[in-house]
Symmetry: C2
Subunit: 295 residues, 2 copies
């Protein structure tokens, strides 16, 4: 391996563990992994890009919800529209802890917003957002808030015969637009929570039904297997909802958000995964100490 790989990573146990693992699985010997089995899967929010103060998809949907409240003022007294208008962070914090009532309410609103749209219409809405929306604290477009060290990790894995998939609880169709434009990952390599589409009269239209389960927790290895026919050899995540995916992989990488200066410092929603990492010997990435460059 040349010096150029993982250029934004500082020397340290995380970088070393990655390089050692990739070398072992591609070298004939007991840890060798057949090329067909080399699947790598990564969570998105907080693993590939910033997820504070809220996953960016919320910024995207808030614009739609604001318009919906304008069109139908009776929504203003209902959740999640009420929380949006009152800027109530506690309501959305329920997301991190996977409060079922909050998740259900949000899901209902998400599916309502885009029922009836075609893929082309939805993609255009996402592209309009990525072209204009900025992060409230960091004041740069969200699309620039992708972690450069993770893109370099994709390159290293792909150069070693891995197929890289994104696997996130977030909206599959939202991520697919970003995936090709920003991460260099084809749409078909993005796995996520999704609405069912109906094909009729030569047209695909989004329904209000969820397709299968949410891509969170044990849903992650389930979705990964359904999509790829395999469980991952390499997996990366940053939160408690990633635990099952990380457990299902041969090598697990957990991103720890401890860099309040360049990004954010928090462990909320990641307490169990950090404990599990210590217990299971997963590679933990300190954003502060392991990454020379974040973006």
């Amino acid at each position: 391996m040349t010096e150029k790989i993982l250029a934004s990573w500082k020397d340290g146990p995380a970088r070393q563990a990655i390089v050692d693992f990739v070398t072992a699985v591609t070298t004939p010997g007991p840890a060798f992994v057949e090329p067909a089995d080399r699947i790598a899967t990564f969570d998105n929010d907080g693993t590939l890009w910033v997820e504070q103060p809220l996953p960016p998809q919320f910024d995207f949907v808030f614009r739609t919800w604001a318009q919906e409240v304008k069109d139908d003022p009776s929504l203003a007294s209902q959740q999640p529209y009420k929380a949006l208008i009152e800027r109530d962070p506690d309501f959305f914090a329920g997301l991190g802890s996977q409060d079922p009532k909050v998740v259900e309410t949000l899901l209902e609103a998400f599916t309502r917003s885009w029922a009836g749209t075609t893929p082309e219409e939805f993609d255009a809405q996402v592209r309009e957002w990525t072209g204009t929306a900025k992060h409230p604290k960091l004041d740069v477009p969200y699309r620039e808030l992708v972690y450069r060290p993770m893109l370099e990790l994709f390159e290293l894995l792909q150069a070693n015969g891995f197929r890289v998939f994104v696997c996130s609880g977030g909206g599959r169709d939202f991520m697919r637009v970003l995936a090709e434009d920003t991460w260099g990952i084809l749409k078909e390599n993005v796995i996520g929570s999704a609405a069912a589409y109906t094909y009729a009269d030569g047209k695909l239209v989004r329904s209000r039904e969820l397709l299968g389960s949410l891509d969170l927790g044990s849903g992650k290895p389930e979705h990964i297997f359904a999509h790829t026919g395999r469980l991952p050899v390499f997996a990366g995540g940053n939160a408690d909802v990633d635990i099952e995916m990380l457990q299902s992989a041969r090598f697990a990488l957990l991103v720890n958000h401890d860099d309040d200066e360049r990004e954010f410092s928090y462990t909320r929603g990641a307490e169990a995964s950090l404990a599990k990492a210590a217990e299971s010997g997963w590679a933990v990435v300190s954003m502060k100490n392991d990454w020379a460059t974040v973006f």
Copy 2:
């Protein structure tokens, strides 16, 4: 293009239409298709391999059902076990016409057979079958009954930047084993009807629930979009249940089984697709006239 491409195809309108289309979509001009959009999808039974007298997956499941009847003789009076014991072709013919009652009864039996198995157990059963099972009329292993001209078409498409997917009403997990071993297609490029799996205690186990809809009719473009984020540019099929997939593609290829000498001659279950092909100008492949070699 060199002379070696599509070597088992005779010169004729089908071969010419394929070559013209592939040239047009890869040449700068009005028909050019961006590499990211180059998705090709193919039905399996009757398009990639023999589907008469029954799709080969039935031969596979019949062995399991025979064992189940031995273990529980009360099943012998119920469908589909009764039809299997009585060798009743009329019952299974309901499949071709998509009789909902037949499909439901079969689905119930299929899901019952493998509920509780792990992916490793199921793959081993498929590999044991492919290693031993022979076609009743052609007397060769099923795995040798893949159409060589279609594998050459895969090569041509892949050489021109297409990602090739198999998309069939058949069992996704059954096809995935064959896909890598026989067609050179990775498991993640196989789309099909599938059971949901549950991940618990570090293990994936097959449930009795179907994951989403059957991958037939309008289900095909729905499954293709869910899996890839796109509709196909090139699609190949051979039956009425492929019509929607073929309609959703820029270029549609329909295999017509008119070769009783080397394979089978039939139009049952393909009447509407043949009419649609004539109406829409799809490329129709005559197995008898367009293929110099079948297997």
